[in-house]
Amino acid sequence: MNKPIVEVGTVGLVDDLSGTIPSKPKLGDKLLEGKQEKVGVVGLFDDPHALVKAAEKVRDAGWKQWDCHTPFPVHGLDAAMGLGWSKLPTIALSLGFTGAALALLMQYWMSAVSYPVHIGGKPLFSWPAFVPITFEMFVLFTAAGTVLTGLWMCKLGRWHSPLHDSGVMAEVSSSRFALVLSAKDELWSDGARSLLDEAGCTDVRDLFEDVDDGRIL
């Protein structure tokens, strides 16, 4: 459905929700504000295993600045991309233990130090009674830690993406599998495209991104 995108600097116009640009500008239509620059090349697959294979190739070719975009986590892709084991659990759990320690400390301080109150003939620091809260705080802190580190590691909270600008996002989030080679990588050359063709992807396109004017409003 999509034709290759027009070259840098040419004027196109928008008529499609997915934000892709048709080849021929129609006269009288609203001009496209801003320009687009090529930031890489994207190859689209229909079969996850093909993607895995392609990923292995790219990895072996020694690429650094590249990524796969899939509608669901694909088995074996992490290995294929040469991604290591995520540090996230370590960080989250250590936060969790901190929480537990804080909870116990809080209960001790509040009931035995700050304002000691005699309750039911029990000692001021009746630790067995403090276990449940300690545990709950462990869970709470771990959960919070997971989410926060998760947001940070998954680089969430930044909405823009060349996939939007080039209009392949819809396909990716629905059913297709994309492999993106970034122009930032030192291995970047026009050969990148052919690398993807060899990897047997059904459809290779250049990846464009809107030129940013840095304005806020």
């Binding site: 929700l17 934000g19 000691p116 930044r158 909405w159 600008d165 004017d213 806020i216």
Partner: protein, 204 residues
């Protein structure tokens, strides 16, 4: 329609988040500060029906507190002087200004006194300044006689005030400060090192 999710979109979102967050923090912080009990009580200085100057009485004339507030060493309530007590002196001492008129204070006092006989006619309705909650039971004598505390520890330098205002929050936390870690002399001079902190001491 153009693609929504541009870099500018990100910047806008971040801006919004920062602004809203900041507003929230400030709002909460400010209302906390404004509603913090000690900020409401301290400095409360109502205008009294009789312009009575503690500075003149307790300060310049060095009348001891207990002369008027005689309950303070006898029981829970320090009490206010009866109009009679005022007249003990003011039957004879009636300060006048240069024109020879009675001072405003005296004039106000005579509102409550029959000038012919110098006998009180009606009670004075004062503005309550040091006002504890009704469920807090404070006993003056326990502190004046029991702990031998000077009045000023709680009421501040009243003898320097023309119109009395509240200098301490008189909130529970403030009481506890002294009951748990009393200032130097209490701890050193061998007397009771701390006041009670059990609920029944003040709440019944």
């Amino acid at each position: 329609m153009k693609n929504l999710f541009t870099r500018r979109f990100d910047r806008l979102v971040r801006l919004a988040v920062t602004v809203l967050g900041g507003a929230l923090v400030f709002g909460v912080g400010f209302s906390l500060y404004a509603l913090w009990p000690s900020n409401q009580a301290v400095g409360y200085e109502p205008v009294q029906p009789v312009p009575f100057s503690h500075k003149r009485m307790a300060g310049d004339n060095k009348i001891p507190c207990l002369y008027c507030h005689d309950g303070a060493e006898r029981g829970p309530v320090a009490g206010l002087p009866t109009v009679e007590v005022c007249m003990n002196c003011h039957t004879y001492v009636q300060p006048k200004d240069k024109q020879g008129n009675l001072t405003p204070g005296m004039q106000a006092l005579f509102e409550y006194v029959d000038p012919a006989t110098n006998k009180p006619t009606k009670p004075i309705v004062w503005e309550k300044i040091h006002d504890l909650s009704d469920f807090a039971y404070f006993d003056h004598s326990r502190h004046t006689v029991g702990a031998r505390l000077p009045c000023a520890d709680c009421h501040g330098p009243v003898e320097t005030m023309d119109q009395v205002y509240q200098v301490n929050s008189l909130k529970m936390g403030w009481c506890l400060d002294c009951h748990t870690k009393p200032p130097e002399p209490w701890r050193t001079d061998g007397r009771a090192t701390r006041g009670p902190t059990q609920c029944t001491s003040c709440h019944r």
